[in-house]
C-alpha cells in the first residue's frame, strides 16, 4: 500500500507547510520599516490615538502572542480588513477567485491542447525543420516577459485590428452569478450573447498566460517521448512487427505523459504568478489584479492575504498532482 502511504504523508505535511508559510509571511509583515498603526491612523493622529489603535489591533502584545493571534485569525478565515476598501479581505478574495480560476483553466486547456500534440510531433520528427522551428518558438515563449506580450497583443489585436476586446471580462454586467464562472453561467441560462462576449474577452489573456506553459509542456513531452522511443521495450515491439502508430499511441504516449502530468502542478505556479501581471494589463477582475492594486496602495494586509491564498492554492494543486501521479504511474505504488 505504498500509494496510500504517499498520499497520507503528503496530507500530513500540508498543515506544517501552511504554518511555515505563515511564519515567513508574518516575518515579512513585521519587518516593515513603516509602522502599520501610523499608516492606519493618518498623519495627524495624536499619541493617545495611536496607542488606542495599537491596543485595538493587538500590536502592543509581544510578537509570539501576535503570531498566535494571527494564526487563529487565519485558521478561522479572517485575513483582516483592507485599509483601503474597508472590506474583509477574505470576502474580496472569494468574490474575485472565480475570475482568476476561469482564466487559469482556459490557459491550462490551451497549453495542454497545443503543448502535448506539438511535443509528441516534434519528438517523432526529431531534427526535422518542424522540430527546429518549434524549438525556436518554445525558447522564445519562455524568454518573453508576459506583461510585455500582453501589451503587444492588445496593441495588435485590440487597438489595430479591433478583433478582440481591449480589456475587462465581459461587456455589460455579465450573467447573474451562479458559479461565478461566466462561461458556465451563460451556458446554464443559455445566454449566447454573454457567452460570446465572455469568450472573446478571455482569448488574449488566456493566450498570454498559456504561451510559457505550452512551451514548457512541449519541451517535457518531447523529452519524455524521446526517452521512451529509445527504450528497449519499444525496440522489442518494433521487432515484433507491431505497427508504428499503434506503438506510439498505446505504449509511448502513456509512458511519456507521466512526466508531463507531474509538470502541470509546477506549471500552475507559473500561471498564478503570471496572473498577477496579465490580470493587471487586461483589467481582469481576479485576485492577481487585486494584489497589484494593493501593492500600489501599500495595503499590507491585502498583500499578505493574497500571498496566503496563492500559497494555499499552489499547495492544494500540487497535492492533487502528486496523488494523480501515484494513481497514473503504477511504478510508484510498488
Amino acid at each position: 500500500m505504498r500509494r496510500l502511504e504517499i498520499i497520507v504523508s503528503r496530507l500530513a505535511w500540508f498543515v506544517p507547510t501552511i504554518v511555515g508559510l505563515l511564519i515567513i509571511i508574518f516575518t515579512i509583515s513585521h519587518i516593515i520599516p513603516t509602522d502599520p498603526v501610523r499608516v492606519l491612523a493618518g498623519d495627524n493622529a495624536t499619541q493617545e490615538q495611536l496607542d488606542a489603535l495599537r491596543k485595538e489591533y493587538g500590536y502592543d502584545k509581544p510578537l509570539p502572542i501576535q503570531f498566535i493571534n494571527y494564526l487563529k485569525d487565519v485558521a478561522t478565515g479572517n485575513l483582516g480588513i483592507s485599509i483601503f476598501t474597508k472590506r474583509p479581505i477574505s470576502e474580496t478574495m472569494w468574490h474575485r477567485l472565480p475570475a482568476t480560476l476561469e482564466l487559469t483553466f482556459a490557459a491550462v486547456f490551451l497549453s495542454v491542447l497545443f503543448g502535448i500534440p506539438l511535443g509528441v510531433l516534434s519528438a517523432l520528427k526529431r531534427n526535422s525543420l518542424f522540430d527546429h522551428v518549434l524549438r525556436v518558438i518554445t525558447v522564445s515563449g519562455l524568454a518573453v516577459a508576459s506583461f510585455w506580450l500582453a501589451m503587444e497583443l492588445q496593441f495588435l489585436f485590440s487597438m489595430n485590428l479591433a478583433v478582440a476586446p481591449l480589456n475587462g471580462r465581459i461587456s455589460g454586467f455579465g450573467p447573474d452569478p451562479i458559479t461565478g464562472f461566466f462561461v458556465i453561467d451563460s451556458l446554464l441560462i443559455w445566454d449566447m450573447e454573454s457567452l460570446r462576449s465572455a469568450l472573446s474577452h478571455m482569448i488574449l489573456p488566456a493566450i498570454t498566460l498559456a504561451l510559457p506553459a505550452a512551451a514548457t509542456i512541449v519541451r517535457f513531452t518531447r523529452a519524455g517521448v524521446l526517452e521512451v522511443i529509445n527504450s528497449n521495450f519499444v525496440l522489442y515491439e518494433r521487432a515484433m512487427g507491431i505497427p508504428w502508430p499503434l506503438i506510439v499511441w498505446k505504449y509511448v504516449l502513456r509512458n511519456a505523459l507521466i512526466s508531463t502530468v507531474t509538470q502541470i502542478g509546477l506549471i500552475f505556479g507559473v500561471f498564478l504568478s503570471g496572473a498577477v501581471v496579465v490580470e493587471t494589463v487586461f483589467d481582469w477582475p481576479g485576485i492577481g489584479a487585486y494584489a497589484v492594486n494593493s501593492i500600489l496602495q501599500s495595503d499590507y494586509k491585502a498583500i499578505m492575504g493574497f500571498t496566503i491564498w496563492t500559497g494555499a492554492i499552489f499547495l492544494i494543486v500540487n497535492l492533487i498532482t502528486d496523488i494523480a501521479h501515484t494513481l497514473i504511474d503504477p511504478r510508484s505504488s510498488q
Binding site: 506583461f147 501589451m151 496593441f155 500571498t307
Partner: protein
C-alpha cells in the same frame, strides 16, 4: 581532463544555440560597459526635453523618444547596466547561500537533509514572483531591495538542485575511497563532490540569470524596482502603457531588449546542458 575540456570547447563552437546565446550575452555586457560611448544621447537618462516628447523613430532617435523626450535607445543601453547588476548580484548571493546548504544537506543526509527539504518545501509553496513582490513591497522600491527579494526567494531552488546532485555523486566509489583514506568532510565536499556537480551548477546559473532578469522586470513593471528616472526596462514598459497605440516604439524597444537578453541566457544554458551534462534533466526530475 584537458582533452575533455578541449572536446567540450569544440562542441560548444559547433552548438549553434550556445554560440548565439553567448554572442547575445557578450553584446549585453559590452552595451553595459560602453553605454556612455554607445548611447547617442548619454545625458538623456537624467535629462528631459519635453518639447521633444514621443517622437517616432527617425534618423536621430533610432528607437524614438519617451514621454519625457528622452532618447529611448540611450535609456535602454544604460538600462543594461541595471539589468546586469541585479542579475549578477542576485544570482551570486543565491549561489553563495544555496550551494553550501545543498552540499551539506546532501553530504550528511539524515536531519540536515530533512531540515533542508522541509524549509525549501515551504519556500517553494509560493510562486517565486509572488513572494518576491511581497518582500520588495514591504521593504520599499529600490535596486537593493529587488536584489534582496530575488535572492531570498530563489535560493531554495539551488539548494534542492545541489542537494540532488550531491546525493547522486556521494555513493560513487571515488568519494568512498577519499573518505576511506581519511579525508575530512570539507575536503571531500570541496575537492571531490563540488567539481563533479559543477557542470549542473553552471547550466542552472545561465538559465537562472534569464529567470532572474524576467522576475526583476516584473518587479520593475509593478513599480517595485529602481525608482524613476532610473532607466529600468520593466518600468519603461509600465510607463509606456498609457501611450499605446500611438507611441508603439516606446513599449516595443525595452520589451525586445528583455526578450533578447533572456533568450541569450536560455540558449546558452540549453547549449551548455547538451555539452556538459546530458543527464541533468533527469537528475532534476529525480529530486523528490
Amino acid at each position: 581532463m584537458k582533452t575533455g575540456w578541449r572536446q567540450a570547447l569544440s562542441k560548444f563552437v559547433r552548438d549553434r544555440a550556445a554560440l548565439i546565446g553567448s554572442v547575445i550575452i557578450l553584446g549585453l555586457i559590452l552595451c553595459a560597459i560602453f553605454a556612455p560611448y554607445l548611447a547617442p544621447f548619454p545625458d538623456d537618462v537624467y535629462e528631459f526635453h519635453t518639447s521633444n516628447r514621443l517622437r517616432a523613430p527617425d534618423g536621430v532617435h533610432y528607437f524614438g523618444t519617451d514621454r519625457m523626450g528622452s532618447d529611448v535607445l540611450s535609456r535602454i543601453l544604460f538600462g543594461a547596466r541595471i539589468t546586469i547588476m541585479i542579475a549578477v548580484i542576485a544570482i551570486s548571493i543565491t549561489v553563495a547561500i544555496g550551494v553550501p546548504i545543498g552540499l551539506i544537506a546532501g553530504y550528511y543526509g539524515k536531519w540536515p537533509s530533512d531540515a533542508l527539504m522541509r524549509v525549501s518545501d515551504i519556500f517553494l509553496a509560493i510562486p517565486q514572483v509572488v513572494l518576491a513582490i511581497a518582500i520588495a513591497q514591504t521593504l520599499g522600491p529600490s535596486i537593493e531591495n529587488v536584489i534582496l527579494a530575488l535572492s531570498a526567494t530563489y535560493w531554495p531552488f539551488w539548494a534542492r538542485l545541489v542537494y540532488a546532485e550531491t546525493r547522486s555523486v556521494k555513493n560513487e566509489i571515488f568519494i568512498e575511497s577519499a573518505i576511506a583514506l581519511g579525508a575530512p568532510p570539507w575536503r571531500v565536499m570541496l575537492l571531490h563532490v563540488l567539481p563533479n556537480i559543477a557542470s549542473a551548477i553552471i547550466v542552472r546559473t545561465s538559465i537562472g540569470m534569464g529567470n532572474t532578469i524576467l522576475t526583476a522586470a516584473i518587479l520593475g513593471f509593478l513599480g517595485l524596482g529602481a525608482p524613476p528616472p532610473a532607466p529600468e526596462w520593466g518600468r519603461m514598459i509600465a510607463e509606456s502603457r498609457e501611450f499605446l497605440p500611438e507611441a508603439w516604439w516606446y513599449a516595443t524597444a525595452p520589451g525586445l531588449a528583455i526578450f533578447l537578453v533572456v533568450m541569450g541566457f536560455n540558449l546558452l544554458g540549453d547549449g551548455l546542458r547538451d555539452i556538459l551534462d546530458p543527464r541533468i534533466r533527469r537528475a532534476a526530475s529525480r529530486e523528490e
